[in-house]
Symmetry: C2
DNA sequence: AGTCGCATGTAAGTTGTTACATGATTAC
DNA sequence: GTAATCATGTAACAACTTACATGCGACT
């Protein structure tokens, strides 16, 4: 259950509303963890009950109050505790690999692989643009940003591998499906 | 919900009991999809109700009947339908990346990264041994095994990338944590 | 006598998804 | 006026995890 921890990491950098967090989960943090706003609101409520975050309430008329969440000392402690515990190996779950393994409809898989490749390219571009903008000189990275940089590097390496895999698949299947 | 489809792919190759499937999910298919035996039994029951699989029952005294499942025509149809539908991009969820991004405890992350690297190496070895055993000559792969081969290639590429990433992380963090 | 492999499940709880629902403010 | 952005949620459902539970047969 690392959504809580992803939120803590994000709030440790900067306090935010649930809405802000949802946007962050569509961008930076979202490179490694996806979450819907519904999930985020639910989790924030639990985290507040646990004392890991505290909310500053700005009352608004006619609609629900705006709540800005900040990490508490207990939250920071929990983050340290989480950081020190070994991470479980990710349960990998790939619809695509299952489909590929079955290989029931070559033309459909070729099409799917092309779509997948385009998606990898798009994300790689995004990551590389982000790397260029935030870390133009990898030798000059400051300690506080090293984690984010290394995480981004992971994203870049993994997208490149995704593209290479798609190319290998297409190389072997394309000629067969176009007859 | 592709557990059903992973099971269909597996049963299309060979009929099996829930127990057999659970073991396959610890090995071959398990490279791309993890599932516990509890989950598998539950899903098989639903799939039988949906008519995608049929069970041959071997009654046993004193304990639950043994059920061997086989894919039905409806199951094969569903597999084709699933195969033709575009696969959703995987929601990537990495505790490790979240932790890295937070970078709260460098020594702990270095340790975690080493463990992770060893795990990648072990899996890569397993995949490469499997590739060597089943596909000694990549040029001579038969059509019916091409999907499994390409899926395995994906596993190999991804483990190699995982190792490269760990090495990059260790290269940047190791010296810092050992002072 | 005890562990391992085979074989089947139930129950309770957590997490995540999808659909639904509301309302203010700002830009075109 | 209408669409986008900001902002917060509820409800129902589906999927997955963890703990518990049983029992046979073979081997040691």
């Amino acid at each position: 259950m690392a959504l809580e921890h992803a939120i803590l990491v994000s709030l440790a950098e900067q306090a935010a509303t649930g809405y802000d967090l949802a946007r962050r989960f569509d961008a930076s943090i979202g490179y490694f963890w996806r979450a819907s706003h519904q999930q985020i609101y639910k989790t924030l409520a639990r985290m507040e009950a646990d004392g890991w975050v505290s909310a500053t309430i700005e009352p608004r008329e006619g609609t629900a109050d705006k709540k800005t969440y900040a990490i508490t000392d207990a939250g920071r402690e929990e983050l340290t505790r989480f950081s020190a515990e070994p991470s479980p190996r990710e349960a990998l779950r790939s619809d695509f690999a299952v489909k590929l393994r079955g290989l029931a409809d070559v033309a459909a898989i070729v099409e799917d692989t092309r779509r997948r490749r385009a998606d990898h390219v798009e994300r790689l571009d995004r990551y590389e643009a982000s790397a260029k903008r935030h870390y133009p000189d990898p030798a000059a990275i400051e300690e506080h940003e090293r984690g984010a940089y290394l995480a981004l590097r992971g994203g870049i390496l993994s997208e490149r591998t995704g593209i290479a895999w798609c190319d290998e698949i297409l190389g072997q299947l394309e000629t067969r499906s176009e007859r």
